[in-house]
Amino acid sequence: NSSRLVLFVEIQPQHCKTNRVEPNATIGEIKSMFHKSHPQWYPARQSIRLDPKGKSLKDEDVLQHLPVGTTATFYFRDLGAQISWVTVFLTEYTGPLVIYLMFYFRVPFIYASKYDFTTSKHWVVHLACMCHSFHYVKRLLETLFVHRFSHGTMPLRNIFKNCTYYWGFAAWMAYYINHPLYTPPIYGEQQIRLALIIFLFCQIGNFSIHIALRNLRPPGSKTRKIPYPTKNPFTWIFLLVSCPNYTYELGSWLGFTLMTQCLPVAFFTLVGFVQMTVWAKGKHRSYLKEFRDYPPLRSPILPFIL
């Protein structure tokens, strides 16, 4: 996987041979060219750089704006098999949806056979199933119709890692919530009602943020802008937080934990919170680096706290 291969390119006004390109050619075109001569490395898995230890060049970079002369030496690195973000998201979200339902309907071999295909006698279990399913259906639809991804692909091994996480936790939670010996929340209806309100509020909030982020970026572009509150009150949290989508996500899962009073759910919420905090801090830092006028009041994920 080391940057041994060197692509030698001559820059000339007319390109009539391979390895000769016009000055206004982009890195993307270079990648296509390289793919033709090395068919096993499709463009998504190529990392092209000017220095073997340097940063990867972007597809949109134009040759004549790079520090090259009449010839350019590029270093190639194989990023390994790639898979598209959309594929990963669809797979990792469909799993929990299906798996939870299998536990909800008490498919055979999970619980004692006398419980096969029975349903729980607690109404909160039905409510929890609706909420969980709604959450993942929402995520699937957002992946298909709302999100605009800046990267097309990610390394293939990520899909195994991500699916293990999502599917594993979904199975663990669903096992206990739909168990014949499930104990409903101590404070009964009050607790469940409050939890449902928190959950729905945060689901709407999370969706509003995704829409707001989508509208920041025109279709097909990769421009980056600071997100600001819009007319939608759910986006006013942008005044205090850089990544409110994560804040609302945390809120949703806190609501679900309260609703089900299930320790595995609490654990899942905690792990998710840690991961989202890491992402939020990274995003916050890159906002600060990229924009001089970034609003100083904002915190990465929790207002004033984190």
Partner: protein, 242 residues
């Protein structure tokens, strides 16, 4: 840190001095830590030998060193912090996994399950751990003091070849011996129904721990083999970088 050309050199010197005193303190602390750990494990080794020579049996040996063992093995958690901060150049994950498995054995197996404390497998891994830790900590100590006798380096990077598998065997046999006692007593376990809607079976947890040795042990072993080739034979191994 932007500084103008003129007073740049003065600031740089000050910063370098600060860095040097800081790293001198860190080195001093590290040296003290490694000396203390070497001494601790030496004490353990000597106590164990004395016990066996005086009593002629290994029964009761664990009890006699239990407190010292727990102290020094738990203190090794400090190392994880050091690797994480970057002061010690071992991989955080490798070191973390090793320390975790040690702490688990000491606190959650031999400490909690009294009936297996006189098993031969316990003595096996105790002996292995003692030899490995003495050679490891004395290696670190002498490296920090810049006077590393070759035989210590040789010991550290060769003993493990036989001792690692022996130690793993001792640990696995001990956990296996503990299983029936765990099942019977139901220790550390929680059953349904309960208000947290969770269950935990320590018996199956131990089985999973035993199974986890299968992927983890070869990785640790190969890592040490690679280190050995690099340190003893000066080979440059290209690690797969992401």
């Amino acid at each position: 840190m932007a500084s103008s050309e003129e007073d740049g050199t003065v600031e740089e010197k000050e910063n370098n001095n600060k860095k040097r005193t800081k790293s001198a303190l860190v080195t001093a602390w590290l040296t003290f830590y490694n000396i203390a750990m070497t001494a601790g494990w030496l004490v353990l080794a000597i106590t164990m030998m004395r016990f066996y020579i005086q009593r002629g049996t290994h029964k009761g040996l664990y009890r006699s060193i239990a407190r010292t063992l727990k102290f020094f093995q738990t203190f090794a958690l400090v190392e994880v912090r050091l690797t994480f901060v970057g002061i010690v150049k071992t991989s955080v994950i490798v070191n973390g996994v090793q320390v975790c498995s040690r702490i688990f054995m000491v606190w959650f197996v031999t400490n909690s399950i009294r009936q297996i404390q006189n098993e031969e497998s316990v003595i096996l891994f105790l002996v292995v751990w003692t030899v490995m830790e003495i050679s490891r900590y004395s290696y670190y100590t002498f490296s920090l003091l810049h006077h590393l006798p070759y035989f210590i380096k040789w010991a550290r990077y060769n003993f493990f070849i036989v001792l690692y598998p022996l130690g793993v065997a001792g640990e696995l046999l001990t956990i296996y011996a503990a299983l029936p006692f765990v099942r019977r007593s139901g220790m550390y376990s929680m059953r349904l129904p309960n208000k947290y809607n969770v269950s935990f079976d320590y018996y199956y947890c131990l089985i999973i721990v035993m199974l986890s040795y299968i992927p983890l042990f070869p990785q640790l072993y190969l890592h040490m083999l690679r280190q050995r080739r690099r340190v003893l034979h000066g080979e440059v191994i290209v690690e797969k970088d992401e």
